[in-house]
């Protein structure tokens, strides 16, 4: 046992490195344009390429994707999709931005592979060679692996939302014409390709944390690290590089998921935004309806996921009081409640008292949803820790 982890992992303590990159991954506010432009030129030189003739600044990953589609001659596909009317003005704005740069007429091919992926692979191979397969796995688990779940989820959400904004496949009803479906599917393909050409900047923090801990940044990766610290997503082409702004707003819960009740959880300067409740995507106009909720309105909601958000927002306690509910069971671990919903499984929850009092002397209660077949409060609380009821006996709780 004492042997485990005893071998030196990497020259720098991962605990120090990870805090920095955790911060980079969630940084909001205007890009540091001067630093970014210098870093991107250095990244091209490090890759053995000529510096890009034009650096084009855009306001969001959505604008970045539109510009990438324009530069690769694929933007015409968007014309065939359902959201075209709302996409057209955005596309025109981005086209105007590109038209300010002569090089945009002949951007050359995408160079993500040369600028980002190859130096990445070299650093990984070197680190792998130095630490061995187990050492690399351990280094990753202590650094990149810590940041990966939330960074990866966020980048995936952005990618999905940009794509949907442009092709509208999710808006196609069951009765959509087959021809529209085909045209949409073709657009989905080119949009995905445009998004795959992006370098994720701050959302590459997990990789950069691992390379930083391995002291690999100095060996050619520093320009990429500097870009991650100073911009959002970016798209490198031979003669043109597209750099985009970071979010203006980023709101997350303690588990790192997008979360905000009174506005967008993620927003960019051009208005591109995502709305979410504890990570669950919700429509932008849905949040505005939460203020005027009533138990009747909650019961009438047909979408089970939105109904769950409504219930949480309204407050289980208030809902139960309004509906004069009786607890199912009560013991020293807490109280078990059930809410019956039409055409859905019941919501069964334990109400647990936080054992450490608040500064004002009151004790905060919190609610945890448990499986619907739960019969006692102890069984419910024990389930939240993966234990059977008869094994849950905390000696001390705070």
């Amino acid at each position: 046992m004492t042997q485990l982890g005893a071998r030196p992992l990497a020259p720098r303590p991962p605990g120090e490195v990870i805090g920095h990159w955790r911060q980079v991954a969630v940084q909001t506010g205007p890009a540091d344009r001067a630093t970014a432009e210098q870093a991107v030129r250095a990244a091209y030189r490090a890759a053995g390429l000529a510096e890009p003739a034009a650096v084009v600044w855009l306001d969001s990953p959505l604008q970045g994707a539109l510009a990438a589609l324009l530069l690769t001659g694929c933007a015409e596909r968007l014309r065939d999709c359902l959201p075209w009317a709302r996409v057209e003005p955005q596309l025109a704005r981005v086209a105007a931005r590109l038209a300010e740069h002569a090089a945009a007429a002949d951007p050359g091919v995408g160079v993500r592979e040369a600028v980002r992926t190859r130096p990445w692979e070299r650093a990984r191979t070197r680190t792998h060679g130095r630490l061995g397969a187990l050492g690399w796995a351990e280094l990753w688990s202590l650094t990149g692996g810590e940041l990966w779940p939330s960074s990866q989820a966020l980048a995936g959400r952005i990618r999905g939302a940009v794509a949907e904004e442009l092709h509208g496949a999710g808006e196609l009803g069951a009765g959509a014409e087959p021809e529209l479906r085909e045209r949409t599917a073709a657009a989905v393909g080119v949009i995905q390709l445009a998004l795959l050409e992006a370098v994720l900047g701050q959302h590459d923090a997990p990789w950069l944390a691992a390379f930083d801990a391995a002291e690999e940044l100095d060996a050619g990766l520093e320009p990429l690290a500097e870009l991650a610290r100073s911009v959002g997503w970016w798209w490198p082409y031979e003669r043109v590089v597209l750099l985009t702004e970071r979010p203006t707003e980023l709101h997350r819960d303690e588990a790192g998921r997008l979360d905000r009740a009174d506005g967008p959880a993620l927003a960019y300067p051009d208005g591109f935004a995502l709305h979410a409740w504890h990570g669950m995507p919700v429509p932008a106009d849905f949040l505005a309806t939460l203020g005027g909720l009533t138990p009747e309105r909650i019961r009438a909601e047909e979408n089970a996921e939105l109904r769950r958000v409504m219930l949480e927002h309204y407050g289980y306690e208030r809902y139960l009081a309004d509906s004069a509910a009786e607890p199912l069971h009560r013991d020293e671990t807490g109280t078990l409640w059930r809410i019956q919903l039409p055409d859905d499984e019941p919501v069964v929850m334990v109400e647990v008292l936080n054992s450490t009092p608040e500064p004002d002397g009151t004790s905060r209660t919190y609610w945890l949803r448990v499986p619907p077949q739960t019969r006692t409060a102890r069984e419910g609380v024990a389930w939240t820790f993966g234990l059977p009821a008869d094994q849950y006996h905390p000696r001390r709780e705070t």
């Binding site: 982890g5 945890l368 949803r369 006996h393």
Partner: protein, 108 residues
């Protein structure tokens, strides 16, 4: 066993602790020299152990962690009272919540 907010700390016999070939990693101490059992992403508040020992776990929000305190220690958190822990081995469990078709980690 001990509960501090959304973390349960369960004493286990030494024989139940993982053998060294289980592929777990020893977690580094944070810059304040503590072993972090769970970290709040936004507030940075942490369930953390002060004192000598080691923490072994896989990455991931639901991964079980193993805590070894050869001389005992204390688990602290910004919003919860500290709990003294006798020396020994512990299994550390994060609280989860039921969602139809899934579970999600609790964030207190």
């Amino acid at each position: 066993m001990y509960r501090q907010g959304d973390v349960l700390i369960v004493p286990v016999p030494k024989e139940a602790a993982p053998a060294s070939d289980h592929g777990l990693t020893r977690r580094p101490r944070d810059p304040r020299g503590r072993l972090v059992l769970a970290l709040g992403e936004v507030t940075g508040h942490a369930h953390a152990v002060v004192g000598p020992g080691e923490l072994l776990r896989e990455p991931g929000p639901f991964a079980t962690a193993w805590l070894h305190l050869p001389e005992g220690g204390r688990v602290v958190h910004e919003e919860h009272a500290a709990i003294p822990l006798p020396k020994g081995w512990y299994r550390v469990v994060r609280q989860r919540e039921y969602l139809p078709g899934a579970v999600r980690v609790v964030s207190d």
